[in-house]
């Protein structure tokens, strides 16, 4: 780590230290950053940890010039600097890898890198010069990228490398990594971490934003924890435990492990046989998918985002046409039922897009509580809504599922993600379903609410509910599922017992290897 040269492999000087002091940022009604101090040094990987809404992204957007703080200063190598725009930030040697890829899909890698840069040929693009420099950087940093490739043809892991090259090309000495692993397989994450470690060893400073505790322990030197806009503390990663960090994040004791007691498994409640489906462009999204979920069982569905999880959930929920195959719910053929029919035969569905499919954001908590049942007794009487019954029902859900809301008349969009999810879960479970599909039930939900939702799913399992749990969080899938099914390219790679499989083996299956090959 200590090399005498002050130059990075890209040939630029290191940023020995970067300090943010007393940063205050207000949004209407929220103090997003409350006198936050933060610093990072050359050669260090510094984690910024916190729940959604704790102020991590705000702090980094201030550093990257996308927001202006009300108070506070930023010091680079001990000298105050001003950052008014991303351009200022880039000129100071700060690069950012955003959570959602900031790539223009329909153009090449070289064009993405060249965007916004001065050309050596004046007004004309100099893509050959850019490509040569990309190859040079790629070689020095061990990043495989093809400058001529069009982004839309690249896999997510490759796109991530393009983002890194883009930042390096612009002379980034300090890199902000905003949840860079969210869409990668475990193997891709490992590869990425090798690159990050090498970059730190070469003298880059790295800020790693995450809420995945495993990754923080695997990668970082120090951790700073934000909660409700305040900096709770900065510690050496080696000096703390996961439980310590979780407590700092949430402000109370949280249980990180889940207890999944053995239960008697009953009859198959959901049977899916050789289901095929196509998207709007006529491309297959589900290929001969077969599985069953029994009473008292949670079947986890693992896979990298976009490998058929969503079409599968929607095919069962009646939102995606099934071209071929059969879906049985307690023996009844429900293939290509409408969503309303599916609700009446005992399906509950927690969709992955909470704000888009799970609730109506400009409706009140109370109205959202009866989205499916508003036409039924006791919530409606002929053509009139029965407000008293609706209010009682909403109040009951709020109370029994511990939903934090100012009132049942509050618009649901004003609740936190965790509380919205709790209300959706409450609504779906109150309908006493025979089968539950839970798609990404804790994505973007804070640790406290996650703990609550997990315990609810396990309680329902004990009472005999058949649950299909679709999640990109492998730890969640492993902790809650009795069996795990891995999807790749719309195909089932295998269904394995949760206890019999490691995260690494799941990762191989997520990358397209069949269970037989993995366990051979």
């Amino acid at each position: 780590m200590d090399n005498n040269s002050n130059l990075l492999p890209s040939g630029l000087p290191r940023i020995e230290s970067l300090e943010m002091r007393g940063i205050v940022k207000k949004f209407p009604g929220v103090l997003a950053n409350d006198h936050v101090d933060f610093d990072v040094k050359a050669g260090e990987i510094h984690a910024l940890l916190g729940e959604n809404g704790a102020g991590k992204s705000t702090l980094m957007k201030i550093l990257y010039g996308m927001y202006q703080p009300e108070e506070g200063e930023i010091l680079l190598n001990g000298r105050p600097i001003t950052i008014h725009s991303p351009t200022d930030s880039i000129n100071h040697g700060i690069g950012m890898i955003h959570q959602h890829f900031m790539l223009v899909d329909n153009v090449t890698v070289a064009e993405n890198v060249a965007l916004g840069l001065k050309s050596t040929r004046g007004l004309r693009l100099d893509l050959d010069v850019v490509s040569a420099r990309i190859r040079e950087l790629a070689e020095k940093y061990g990043l495989q990228v093809d400058p001529q490739a069009v982004i839309s043809k690249l896999a997510v892991g490759e796109r991530q490398r393009v983002e890194i090259v883009k930042a390096l090309y612009r002379g980034a000495a300090l890199l902000v990594l905003d949840e860079p692993t969210a869409v990668l397989t475990p193997q891709e994450v490992d590869d990425l971490f090798v690159i990050f470690r090498q970059m730190a060893a070469d003298g880059h400073g790295l800020i790693f934003i995450s809420h995945k505790l495993n990754e923080i322990f695997a990668l970082t030197d120090r951790v700073s924890v934000l909660r409700d806009g305040k900096m709770i503390g900065t510690v050496n990663t080696a000096d703390v435990t996961k439980a310590d960090l979780a407590n700092m994040m949430v402000g109370r004791e949280v249980l990180l492990t889940r207890h999944r007691p053995p239960v008697t498994v009953g009859d198959a409640r959901l049977m899916v046989t050789n289901v095929n489906a196509f998207n709007d462009d006529g491309k297959p999204v589900l290929k001969n998918v077969s599985f069953e979920v029994k009473s008292g069982e949670i079947l986890g569905v693992a896979g990298v985002s976009g490998n058929g999880q969503r079409p599968l959930a929607e095919a069962i929920a009646g939102l995606q046409a099934v071209a071929d195959g059969q879906i049985l719910l307690e023996g009844q053929d429900v293939t290509n039922f409408t969503p309303a029919q599916m609700f009446t035969v005992g399906l509950s569905y927690i969709p992955e897009e909470r704000m888009h499919d799970g609730c109506i954001k400009d409706f009140s908590v109370e109205e959202n509580a009866i989205l499916q049942d508003y036409v039924k007794r006791p919530y409606s009487n002929w053509i009139f809504l029965a407000f008293k019954q609706i209010a009682d029902h909403a109040q009951h859900l709020i109370k029994s599922f511990n939903v934090k809301t100012p009132s049942r008349d509050t618009l649901i969009k004003n609740l936190s993600g965790g509380n919205i999810q709790k209300l959706i879960l409450a609504r779906e479970l109150a309908r006493e379903p025979r089968v539950l599909i839970a798609a990404q039930p804790t994505r973007g939900v804070d640790i406290g609410a996650t703990e609550y939702i997990h315990n609810q799913l396990l309680r329902q399992r004990a009472e005999g509910l058949a649950t299909l749990l679709i999640s990109e969080d492998l730890d969640e899938v492993k902790a809650l599922s009795d069996r795990i099914m891995v999807l790749f390219g719309g195909e089932v790679m295998g269904i394995v017992k949760s206890e019999d499989v490691t995260v690494a083996q799941l990762g191989l299956m997520m990358a397209g290897e069949r269970a037989e090959q993995v366990f051979a």
Binding site: Y64, T87, I90, H98, E111, L115
Partner: protein, 316 residues
């Protein structure tokens, strides 16, 4: 034999008219291509054309110099584009609605100015047809059969076709073109690299609108050499459709414009020759073709992803 000659004459006539009539479509649709590539749908092209047609005509009428008319039309178009940009980019108004507003504005103002400043339909000497005379006795236009088809148009018509490779080059081979494509596809990505999304969109809309102004002038001081109320008669709207038809590329736009103007020329001949087809059906033909072309679904995947979506930093 004479039947064959007549048929040849008709085909050549259609070709000649097709090339000529494509002029306003080309300027307007290539201009609109820039606006749409940057993510702004400017539906007000028709109104801008009318304003360009009027001021192009009026300046030529007053000065006798069509070049001054051309500059006046381009400037008028730019101002109309600035108005569209302020409303749809800075104030983030719904683009379809603000475009219709701009059309109504252009239609109304150009009619009002026509009545108060001209009063009656007058003629001017606009851009003349060139005949490419190499010597006093030999002109390229005199080449048998094809000479007249290709070498007897005005400078504005040739300019419209020259715009196709120029626009293609600017969009694909210059740094500014890359910015235009990027802000129309993923403005967040462009913003994160320090590209001014607002600036690029303003420039694209204003450039597109100045070309729409010239499109109007190509009618009033080159093809027809008169100004009439509502003389564009839907060309601006067809131009917007041609951008979709041409999959947001200047070359595609040109093919669409030629197809459209040729069918238009064809229907004129159908009327002239008194063929047993109702003239209403013939008039309908080009528009019917547009609707069919736009209904082909695969083209939509080529559409700039951020088209009609206002950009503001920090919102997800």
């Amino acid at each position: 034999m004479s039947e064959n000659l007549t048929l040849l004459a008709i085909v050549l006539g259609i070709l000649h008219s097709g090339i000529r009539l494509a002029t306003p479509y080309l300027y307007a649709a290539i201009g609109e291509t820039f606006a749409q590539r940057s993510g702004v749908l400017n539906l007000g092209v028709e109104g801008i054309m009318l304003m360009g047609a009027f001021f192009g005509f009026y300046a030529t009428f007053q000065t006798g110099n069509p070049w001054i008319g051309l500059v006046a039309a381009a400037l008028t178009g730019s101002l109309m584009g600035l108005l569209m940009a302020v409303v749809s980019i800075t104030f983030q108004a719904e683009q379809g609605i603000s475009g219709i507003g701009l059309y109504m504005f252009g239609l109304g103002i150009s009619s009002l100015l026509f009545k108060t400043m001209l009063g009656t339909v007058e003629g001017v000497q606009g851009f003349r047809e060139l005949h490419f005379c190499l010597t006093s006795s030999f002109c390229l236009a005199d080449i048998p059969i094809l000479g007249d088809v290709f070498f007897s148009h005005s400078l504005l018509t040739y300019g419209a076709y020259a715009l196709v490779p120029i626009a293609t080059y600017v969009l694909n081979k210059t740094t500014w073109g890359l910015k235009v494509r990027s802000v129309g596809q993923n403005p967040e990505a462009a913003d994160s690299l320090g590209v001014s999304v607002t600036g690029v969109r303003y420039a694209s809309v204003i450039l597109g609108a100045s070309l729409a102004g010239i499109a109007g002038a190509s009618l009033s001081i080159s093809l027809l050499n008169i100004f009439q109320e509502n003389m564009t008669n839907g060309i601006g709207f067809i131009a917007v459709a041609l951008v979709y038809f041409g999959s947001w590329t200047p070359l595609g736009v040109m093919l669409g414009a030629l197809l459209f103007s040729s069918i238009n020329a064809l229907q004129l001949w159908v009327q002239v020759l008194n063929l047993p087809i109702p003239s209403d059906v013939a008039v309908m033909l080009p528009y019917l073709l547009t609707i069919i072309a736009l209904a082909i679904p695969f083209r939509r995947s080529l559409q700039p992803a951020a088209l009609t979506k206002p950009f503001s930093r920090g919102e997800n």
